[in-house]
């Protein structure tokens, strides 16, 4: 606790008014990053003592130091750090891809597919239902036409479906988990990301066609999304081949090479609109399953995994929009509870139909609570496409993500402890 207070006081001193005349506010991103790296890690360590996952501490530290509370990490700092945040995400996705082994997945493929399908289906139906009945008692929905409400709830349902693979892999790495649940949840989170991106293209086109008379169902948009997904997969495979060749022929300066890959994926996705998460997931998956070098790749990233996680989750925390939470906290809380209930139902039905044991049926849902990245990206697309209610939608989604991102890692960690899969992974 003493170091934490000490670092905090030092930062307070650096940002004090008496030193302000000497400062160059345009160059504050490095200071913000350095501070948050130390501070968030120390908070994470303290939170760990309360048997909570470290990443919850990283996120909380980001929130507290972010633009809405202390402003040690200002909004412009968060923007300036987006590139590093993107690189960290690419590295996390490479690890997640590398952790998915075909051998293990094959055994659970039926269960994963079934859970993903039923979770998606039930969550969509559940939020559609909320939209239908919600107009009678939720003032927020009152001003919308039935068609607008249909579009709103359909899109809300779509965005409530995904689970954050980054959070999932971070908790699993921290707890050194291995086993059936670990594979099931990671596999489910990754597969669902693909699934949701495709579904989103349908629901968005449908919503536009029903709410805007000038728009027909837009197959071009659908094709565009499918093009993005297949392009990401193709690039992922190419990078995977690149990784294998590099390890076979050169095998030097691995850290630089991995950072180069992360940067390259970021640039490719930035320039061509592909998904960096998918590219790196596929690349990691390909390198792990189609060569003997996957372990080298993963161990090289894992050596620096903690600073990567601290940077990524602390910046995520700082980016969380607390003003949105302030505006819509009650409805957001309702959505979080409903989402949890629907995830439970989807997991229960999906695992029961494939003959999984009671443990998976009753507890599996807890691993799918975290939510970030993909949902956020989709919310931005919705905000751009529906100017009438897009900003309210965005505020609600941001608030829901804020809550889920805090409670998600806790649920997952508790689950992994309960099913005794923590500490089983060898270094």
């Amino acid at each position: 606790m003493i170091p934490l207070v000490f670092v905090f006081l030092l930062m307070l001193l650096l940002k004090s008014h008496s030193l302000l005349p000497f400062a160059n506010p345009d160059q504050s991103a490095s200071l913000a990053l350095g501070f948050i790296l130390v501070f968030a890690y120390l908070v994470g360590n303290n939170v760990k003592r309360l048997t909570l996952p470290q990443i919850t501490g990283f996120i909380l530290a980001g929130i507290v130091c972010g633009p809405f509370i202390l402003n040690f990490v200002s909004e412009s700092d968060v923007n300036d750090l987006q590139l590093l945040d993107g690189l960290a995400l690419s590295l996390i996705a490479l690890t997640a891809g590398g952790e998915m082994k075909i051998k293990k997945l094959r055994k659970q493929l039926k269960t994963i597919t079934s859970i993903v399908f039923f979770q998606t289906f039930i969550v969509l139906i559940g939020f559609l239902f909320l939209g239908m009945i919600g107009r009678y008692f939720i003032p927020f929905f009152g001003g919308m036409s039935p068609l607008q409400l249909l579009a709103f709830s359909l899109l809300l349902g779509t965005l409530m479906t995904p689970t954050s693979p980054a959070t999932t892999i971070a908790v699993m790495t921290e707890t050194r988990s291995s086993g059936k649940f670990t594979d099931l949840i990671l596999g489910g989170a990754v597969v669902k990301d693909f699934f949701v991106i495709v579904i989103f293209s349908f629901t968005l086109s449908f919503s536009k066609s029903v709410t805007m008379p000038s728009h027909n169902f837009d197959f071009r948009f659908l094709l565009h999304i499918l093009g993005e997904v297949s392009g990401s997969i193709l690039f992922g495979v190419l990078i995977g081949i690149g990784i294998i060749l590099y390890f076979r022929l050169i095998k030097k300066d691995i850290t630089i090479f991995i950072l180069g890959i992360a940067f390259f994926s970021y640039q490719i996705s930035h320039n061509y609109g592909y998904h960096p998460l998918l590219i790196c997931l596929i690349a990691g998956f390909f390198a792990e399953n189609f060569s003997s070098h996957g372990k080298l790749l993963i161990s090289a990233i894992e050596r620096s995994s903690v600073p990567i996680y601290v940077v990524f989750f602390a910046i995520s925390g700082a980016s969380l929009d607390l003003s949105a939470l302030q505006q819509t906290w009650l409805l957001a809380l309702g959505c979080v509870l409903l989402r949890g209930l629907l995830k439970f139902s989807g997991t229960f039905v999906g695992s029961r139909l494939t003959g999984e044991g009671k443990e998976v049926q009753r507890l599996g849902w807890a691993g799918f609570i975290s939510q970030a990245g993909v949902a956020l990206g989709m919310a931005i697309v919705i905000q751009d496409n529906f100017p009438d209610w897009g900003s309210e939608f965005m505020a609600l989604i941001l608030a829901v993500i804020a809550i889920n991102q805090i409670i998600g890692p806790v649920f997952l960690q508790r689950l992994l402890v309960r099913v005794k899969e923590t500490g089983k992974k060898t270094a």
Partner: protein
């Protein structure tokens, strides 16, 4: 498309690097270029604004924290080796020689540069020219131990000259970096001339006290049993924090992190535990740093820059060679100090590059762009000839002494 070319380039350089480094048993200039990582400056140059533009100005802005970390890292590593226990092993005259050498090189070099700067840049304000002359003089005084490290495998007989040169190149940077701190505090951007002593004094206190406090914190955090993972985060985080503070106040991260390194090194007892971690983290960080510097570098050549580059190389040779016999007499130095011994000081290595970039980042002026070009060209040329200089000086002197 550029991203794909860039990726190909990185692979190619890595491939060539792997080949050269594995073959690099001889002390040739090409081998040293790969060994020291300077080749990555060219990679950065080809990826930056002057090349494929993959590392465009906006991308570079996003990567600024990595540049600040790189600068801080160089400073920390340098400071960390300045443990008093280690320094006390050497005679006091070695330190005096190092200081005299610094004084002569930086003052003589700075004066010559100033005399040439005035007629070549008549439209620039005089106080800016003073600053640039001082910076160029300080840059001349920096040396790097990288070449000696590479050469240590191939040096036939290690004798007194090897150990003396090793000491001098390791310590000389201290004076230059302190000079940089004084320059950045009392010639602080954007104040320059207003309330110079008050502001300068305050900034100097800030840039010394803050890293000392962080050094104590680092020691406190690592005093108890610390895992490698914790150590890595503390190390990266605290160096980042100090570098970030330096950037925020337009102060040199090199100095602040050197102070952090010195403080921590003299407090801690876990040097043995920390060295493997430093070594494993050093190379990737350093390479990234060099790539980013290459990308940051806007090569703007004209005849004036050419004159300064030539002058820089010539002064580097002359200022290290000429005064040595004189220093021998003044200090009553126990070893013979022939002029050619000065040829082992041609390389300024990563610390020289870091110095030049510190200046460029702290002073966003046209003149510092020119400074960076002069500095980098000067450094690259002297690095290229430095293996020859080492062979001709330390190798031969030690062999002769043994005979």
């Amino acid at each position: 498309m550029q991203a794909i070319y860039a990726f190909g380039l990185i692979i190619l350089i890595a491939f060539l690097g792997a080949r050269f480094i594995t073959r690099g048993t001889s002390l040739s200039s090409v081998n040293y270029f790969f060994y020291s990582g300077f080749i990555y400056i060219f990679l950065g140059l080809s990826l930056g604004r002057s090349g494929l533009e993959v590392l465009s100005p906006s991308v570079l802005k996003g990567l600024t924290p990595l540049i600040s970390l790189g600068l801080g890292w160089v400073g920390f590593l340098f400071g960390f080796q300045l443990e008093t226990k280690y320094l006390k092993r050497f005679p006091g005259k070695y330190i005096s020689l190092s200081f005299l050498q610094f004084l002569f090189v930086s003052l003589f070099g700075g004066l010559v540069f100033f005399l040439i700067l005035r007629p070549l840049y008549p439209s620039e304000q005089i106080f800016l020219l003073y600053g640039m002359a001082v910076a160029l003089g300080l840059l001349l005084s920096l040396n790097s131990p990288t070449l000696l490290s590479m050469a240590s495998n191939v040096i036939p007989k290690r004798g007194n000259y090897y150990y003396l040169s090793r000491f001098l190149v390791s310590v000389s940077g201290f004076w230059g970096i302190v000079g940089l701190a004084l320059l950045s505090s009392f010639w602080h951007f954007p104040f320059f001339e207003s309330k110079i002593f008050l502001r300068g004094g305050s900034l100097l206190i800030l840039s010394t006290v803050f890293p000392v406090l962080i050094g104590f914190l680092f020691h406190f955090l690592t005093k108890k049993r610390t895992s490698e993972e914790q150590m890595r985060v503390y190390l990266l985080g605290l160096v980042f924090f100090v570098s970030g503070a330096a950037f925020y106040f337009n102060l040199p991260p090199l100095y602040l992190n050197m102070v952090l390194g010195i403080t921590f090194s003299n407090l801690t007892k876990i040097h043995e535990k920390l060295y493997p971690l430093l070594l494993s983290t050093e190379k990737p960080l350093y390479i990234i740093f060099l790539i980013l510097i290459g990308a940051l570098w806007e090569v703007d050549l004209d005849y004036r820059v050419g004159i300064f580059v030539v002058l820089m190389v010539v002064l580097r040779v002359i200022t290290y060679i000429l005064p040595l016999p004189f220093f021998k007499v003044v200090l009553d130095f126990p070893l013979r100090l022939p002029a050619r011994f000065g040829l082992c000081f041609l390389s300024s290595g990563g610390i020289g590059v870091a110095f030049a970039v510190s200046m460029k980042l702290a002073y966003p002026l046209l003149l510092t762009d020119i400074f960076l070009t002069i500095a980098l060209f000067g450094i690259l040329i002297t690095e290229f000839i430095s293996p020859w200089g080492l062979k001709y000086s330390v190798f031969r002197l030690d062999s002769e002494e043994k005979k």
